[in-house]
């Protein structure tokens, strides 16, 4: 468990200390869910979101603790405070879910996403793409005479910004991992 770096916050069975709810403001939250690594568990989580009409902006999942059979799902979602609280409570209710953490409210957190981006072009556009990649600290992971594949890591906003710049320079394809996030500190 120690390898998971999940800060122990409010218990998933606790509904106390609820923040002011029933406001109409749409908030964006990053939620980390520790689940039993068993068949169908992702379907349970996704089914909850589709069945109850919640949004998923991004979702990543992978096993993080092989001996403990635990996977970590990181979900970025938007909703009113009431909906966000419901999402967390509903996630906590799934039998295969061990822990639910709202990284947006539990403290400062680090969010990273990885994208690989294919840019096709020649001449000045190709040079400009390389120059911008350097500024954004994107790496070239593949190159042909008329194309690059860049690898870039950062917040979703940084990746959006880079992708927007690459579009006029010949962006043809982009693959993103979705957000992975951890709370800061020990």
């Amino acid at each position: 468990m120690s390898a998971l770096h999940i800060k122990k916050g409010s218990n998933r069975h606790s509904a106390y200390n609820l923040r002011p709810t029933f406001s109409d403001v749409q908030e964006r939250h990053t939620i980390a869910v520790l689940v039993e690594n068993e068949p169908g568990v992702l379907a349970r989580v996704i089914g909850l979101f589709s069945g109850r009409g919640y949004n998923i902006e991004s979702l990543t999942v992978a096993e993080v603790d092989h001996t403990g059979h635990l996977s970590r799902i990181t979900i970025v979602t938007t909703g009113t405070p009431q909906v966000i609280e419901q999402i967390k409570a509903q996630l906590g209710r799934i039998v295969s879910v061990h822990d639910v953490h709202d990284l947006t409210v539990e403290g400062a957190s680090v969010e990273r996403e990885l994208a690989i981006i294919k840019v096709v072009g020649e001449g000045e556009k190709r040079v400009e793409a390389l120059r911008l990649a350097d500024i954004f600290r994107a790496n070239v992971v593949d190159s042909t005479l008329n194309s690059f594949i860049f690898e870039i890591t950062g917040t979703p906003e940084k990746i959006d910004a880079f992708a927007d710049l690459m579009r006029p320079l010949g962006l043809v394809e982009i693959a993103r991992t979705g957000v992975a996030a951890l709370l800061r500190g020990a």
């Binding site: 606790s14 509904a15 609820l18 709810t21 029933f22 089914g47 069945g51 009431q82 409570a89 906590g92």
Partner: protein, 583 residues
């Protein structure tokens, strides 16, 4: 205790070790090994239903009337898909049931094999949890875990899908042991929140207890503690459809069921109260009416074992997550320790106000000497059966609401009705489950003829096992509640809400080898009901009632608690366009 045995034998062994005495089921290709094991033993009774939906509802009836998990066993494919309605019903009403389904052998899964269905996929959203067991060695642990999950925390239905090769293969059986599952919902409530509730109880001027199915699910201790708290504080108490019987209908603080067809005094008390103590209810839309006009002046406390119930619909001031019995015990302890205080004077005034509302006599109806009014039929049924060891099931519709209004329940687990899902066809198979659990009791299913026909095949089950269930059908030859809504909302255009081809229920009963009774004259009603009660065997009672009676009081869709319709008032145009999109 570990032993080598086949998966099929493990299923039967695990059921025995979990204390199961009755299984409702229907055999098929993918569960034949399990049926073989059932054949070879005598500890578990198997009740052969006539449709898998009936098996699940019967298991629900068994569970609701005993507090123990009900068990159903069905085959793969259509057996499993037929179980879906029962599973969803149990999920909505938080009923602990364990459903075992057969599956095609593991090596054929995904090949569109005969009677193959993605059972865990189909039932994922309608179970609390489900499992596909692919290895016989993990079968025993999964079976025991299933009983733990079904009953721990907020109860619910679980399903185990067992491929046929897993049933044939041999593995190691382990007996039940204290659960090592991480799934251990907290049962004790937070003491700070409980103290806050007690402080509110001490000062409240217009308090009301609003209780629900959670009290019943928590067990008999919860009902006892609730009665003690209610009677010690002298606060009025209302209940949802699901919670009837937790507090006795004859109790001095009982103000009747609340909600869409609840009593005037109960809904007015909810609207005007200054402290609402929700005990194991979930602010269902049948209860709240218009949300923004729901009990606007009250402080609200909510005791619920499921954190997701808190603030889901109605924002509450004092959330207490925990098991009703545990929380009420602590509430009583703290309240007594602080000197058993209430604002007696104000509460007496409040009770007087409620008595005034009661004088409205909201259940009044115009009786008739020519035809049997459904309300009258239920009043007579109540009078003639209330002193017996009685269990009541219902189907869904007008008759269900009238039964809730006109029958009184003195104890929990005596009232089985489909609340959340509103499943027509629930009551008859449920009554079979109840009668199996309570062989000597009087089990009555109050039904409408339309609902009853949805699972009428279970007459075969009732007759085969000599289950003396009484099917009390209020026959108005209409889908009464649909008809009522069409009258109120759709300009009296009665689109497809009646049947022109109803069976002769007496002949139907006789065809099944049961007794049929028909009654259409109010003067004959008492004798006919007594004949039904005294007959030793299943009875279909065809009670021909007034065809156009509406169920009142009623909170129209989109209206608040204090905007109830009482009796045959002017009912046209009471639901505006915004309300008419609601169900």
């Amino acid at each position: 205790m570990t032993r080598e045995m086949t998966g099929a034998k493990m299923v039967v062994q695990a059921l025995k070790d979990q204390g199961v005495d009755t299984v409702f089921g229907y055999p098929g290709g993918a569960v034949l090994p399990i049926y073989d094991e059932i054949f070879l033993q005598n500890d578990i009774r198997h009740i052969l239903v006539r449709h898998e939906q009936g098996a699940v509802h019967a298991a629900e009836g068994y569970a609701r009337s005993t507090g123990k998990p009900g068990v159903a066993l069905v085959t793969s494919g259509p057996g499993a898909t037929n179980a879906v309605t029962g599973l969803t019903d149990a999920l909505m009403d938080s009923i602990p049931i364990v459903v075992l389904t057969g599956q095609v052998p593991t090596f054929m899964i995904g090949s569109d094999a005969f009677q193959e269905a993605d059972t865990v996929g189909i039932t994922r959203p309608c179970t609390k949890h489900n499992w596909l067991v692919k290895d016989t060695n993990s079968l025993a642990a999964t079976l025991h875990e299933a009983f733990h999950v079904a009953t721990a925390g907020r109860p619910g239905p679980v399903l185990i899908d067992i491929p046929k090769d897993v049933q044939f293969a041999t593995g190691t059986y382990t007996g039940p042991k204290p659960s090592t599952s991480h799934y251990q919902p907290a049962v004790k409530g937070d003491l700070d929140a409980i103290t806050e509730l007690v402080a509110a109880i001490e000062t409240a001027k217009k308090p009301v207890f609003y209780t629900g199915g959670g009290v019943i699910n928590s067990g008999p201790a919860a009902s006892q503690l609730l009665r003690e708290l209610v009677d010690a504080t002298g606060f009025p108490i209302t209940s949802t459809l699901m919670g009837l019987g937790a507090y006795p209908a004859s109790g001095k603080n009982w103000i009747g069921m609340l909600g869409m067809h609840g009593l005037y005094e109960a809904n007015m008390a909810m609207h005007d109260c200054d402290l609402m103590i929700n005990v194991g209810a979930r602010f269902d839309d049948r209860i709240t009416g218009r949300i923004d006009a729901f009990s606007p002046k009250s402080k609200k406390a909510h005791i619920d074992i499921d954190p997701s119930s808190i603030n889901k619909v109605i924002r509450v001031d004092i959330p207490i997550v925990g098991d009703v019995a545990h929380v009420l015990e602590d509430v009583l302890k703290v309240w007594k320790a602080r000197g058993r205080k209430t604002n007696t004077e104000a509460v007496a005034k409040w009770q007087a106000q409620i008595s005034d509302w009661r004088k409205v006599n909201c259940l009044a109806y115009t009786n008739s000497e020519k035809s049997i009014k459904p309300q009258y039929a239920l009043q007579r049924l109540e009078a003639l059966t209330k002193d017996r060891d009685r269990y009541v099931c219902t189907e869904v519709g007008q008759h269900q609401m009238w039964a809730a209004q006109f029958l009184g329940f003195e104890d929990p687990n005596r009232w089985m009705t489909s609340g959340g899902l509103g499943t027509m066809g629930y009551g008859f198979p449920a009554s079979i489950g109840v009668q199996m659990a309570h062989p000597d009791a009087l089990v009555i299913n109050v039904a409408g003829e339309a609902s009853w026909l949805m699972n009428m095949q279970e007459m075969g089950t009732a007759v085969q096992y000599r289950l003396p269930v009484k099917q009390f059908i209020l026959n108005n030859e209409r889908l009464g509640m649909v008809r009522q809504w069409q009258e109120l909302l759709h300009g009296e255009r009665y689109s497809h809400s009646w049947s022109e081809a109803l069976p002769d229920f007496v002949k139907l009963a006789e065809a099944f080898g049961a007794k049929g009774i028909i009654c259409s004259d109010p003067a004959d009603l008492d004798d006919a009901i007594m004949e039904m009660i005294n007959y030793d065997g299943p009875v279909i009672f065809d009670c021909l009632v007034e065809k156009h009676e509406n169920c009142f009081p009623m909170i129209p869709s989109g209206k608040a608690h204090n905007e109830m319709l009482l009796g045959e008032a002017e009912t046209q145009g009471v639901i505006d366009s915004k309300g008419s999109v609601l169900v």
